[in-house]
């Protein structure tokens, strides 16, 4: 099978756009990604569209109604917070399979404000606050506290993740926020679910990101290899059975299973990775994934954040975009936005936040419930 390449990729600056429709928000990144490679929607052979909020609303077709109804096949994808990565992966798979030579993947979301998760059953009485909490900050707090129990990870270490990612976002003009948040500010912010304060929860924003994926032959024919990004691995997993996972959603084993498959597919290991964009939906989650992705040994994640190994300039910078914590987390867009971020570094176009000499990068998302999507990318 021929390799598949990202030839065009971009995202809009994340923000709040209540006056726009979901297809309008998605159209903007679709056009930006097409512009990035000098093509138009007329050149695309299929569209894979990721969106959660209007999963039954034919968002992909409505994007084409905004930017060009060419009659191409459209697949609408919904897979919790792994939605964007899943749309990208379906697009990639169609090119790998030889079905199409060049396709477009778009991820888009328009979010409300406030807590996610925690909905009770349809019958009886609400269970939230009666049988524990199903809110996302609490669920990911419990996942972090499992790490604290095993390894002594502290509230302060979790909070340092937020300090780092907010600092990174000051160098990313497409992030929702560009604001430094010192450690005491993070730790003294409103406590949402201990140990996650408000500044340790990802930001609900509207946004979209898009990528044009082409076969090697097509990329060469169009003269696009110069800035092309090779997809070295694309992996999607669901949550394998774990002893507690029906009461405590497990983001660890699906990540470990996915990254092992991704390293094998790419013929690479964690030491080969120059930068990572991982699913920091909450500060507690990021700590878990240093170990899950093999960036350090089990029990070493606390030391890793203390020593600055995951900050820009460190051994393996993580979430130099600002991450979901500060760039923002438009659920369906996130999985393609992190592919945009890594691709931008591999192209050497990341400006002030550029990871110097970056050659290979990894993206990771988790859709709770659960799905894990991992991509390993390399400059062609």
């Amino acid at each position: 099978m021929s390799d598949a390449y990202v030839v065009g990729v971009d995202m809009i600056k994340f923000g709040r756009f209540p006056d726009q429709t979901v297809p309008q928000i998605g159209s903007q990144s679709a056009l930006l990604a097409l512009d990035d490679c000098g093509l138009t929607i007329q050149d695309m052979e299929a569209l894979y569209c990721g969106n959660l909020g209007q999963a039954s609303g034919m968002v992909g077709q409505r994007i084409l109604q905004e930017i060009g109804q060419t009659g191409i096949p459209v697949v609408n994808v919904s897979n919790a917070c792994a939605t964007g990565a899943t749309a990208f992966r379906e697009a990639w798979a169609s090119v790998k399979a030889g079905l199409y030579d060049i396709v477009l993947a778009v991820g888009v979301e328009q979010m409300g404000k406030g807590l996610l998760g925690g909905a009770g059953g349809a019958t009886g009485i609400p269970k939230e606050g009666l049988l524990g909490s199903g809110t996302m900050p609490a669920v990911f707090a419990e996942a972090g506290m499992e790490h604290s129990s095993k390894y002594g990870t502290t509230f302060e270490q979790f909070a340092k993740v937020s300090v780092k990612n907010h600092h990174h976002s000051t160098m990313n003009p497409k992030a929702m926020y560009q604001i430094e948040t010192p450690l005491d500010t993070v730790m003294n912010a409103e406590m949402i679910s201990y140990p996650n304060t408000k500044l340790m929860c990802s930001v609900n924003v509207d946004g979209s990101a898009a990528a044009v994926i082409a076969s090697e032959a097509k990329a060469k024919e169009l003269g696009l290899m110069n800035r092309a990004i090779k997809v070295r691995a694309s992996v999607l997993t669901s949550d394998p059975w774990q002893e507690r996972d029906l009461v405590m959603p497990d983001v660890n084993s699906c990540t470990r299973k996915a990254v092992a498959a991704a390293y094998e597919m790419a013929g690479l290991g964690p030491d080969d990775i120059d930068l990572v964009e991982l699913h920091d939906c909450f500060a507690t989650a990021e700590i878990l994934h240093y170990e899950n992705l093999g960036l350090c040994g089990d029990g070493e994640a606390g030391r890793m954040i203390d020593d600055g190994e995951v900050a820009l300039g460190g051994r393996v910078p993580v979430n130099v975009s600002g991450g979901l914590l500060s760039k923002g987390h438009p659920l369906g867009a996130t999985g393609i936005a992190n592919i945009y971020e890594v691709s931008t570094h591999l192209r050497g176009e990341a400006g002030e936040r550029q990871v110097q000499g970056a050659r290979i990068g990894l993206t990771h998302v988790i859709g709770l419930g659960s799905a894990c999507g991992i991509h390993i990318l390399e400059k062609a």
Partner: protein
Amino acid sequence: MSAQPLPAVSYLKLPEDGDPYLEGHKCGSCGATFLGERTVCSKCSARDQMSAVTLPTTGNLYSYSIVHRSFPGIDVPYISAIVDLDDGTAIKGNLINIDPDPEKIEFGMPVEVVFDDALGRKDRDGNSYIAYFFQPKV
């Protein structure tokens, strides 16, 4: 409206003559235990091997979060807890009768399951409910 309180979840059983208890369904093939009835095991995929078991009333705190912000109308703070019952079954609920303070809560601490009114919550027909809670075991 039911004259008697109803169970808040299907795996909480309220026998007419006897104490409330939690019911698990155990796979006869691999031993995994689940909350709620089912016919297929999601660990080993065995079919029609499930049998009902009465779950233990004691266990240990595995993980928790202290919830300070929830949905409107939900009293905070409260402790959302994951407990490993003595037979290994994991179950989630509120940890009560302890300060919601990380200094006071210890991982692995022994807890017991207690049954009580579901914090005064009623359904639209006015029915009362019984729920389960965890409290430190003395």
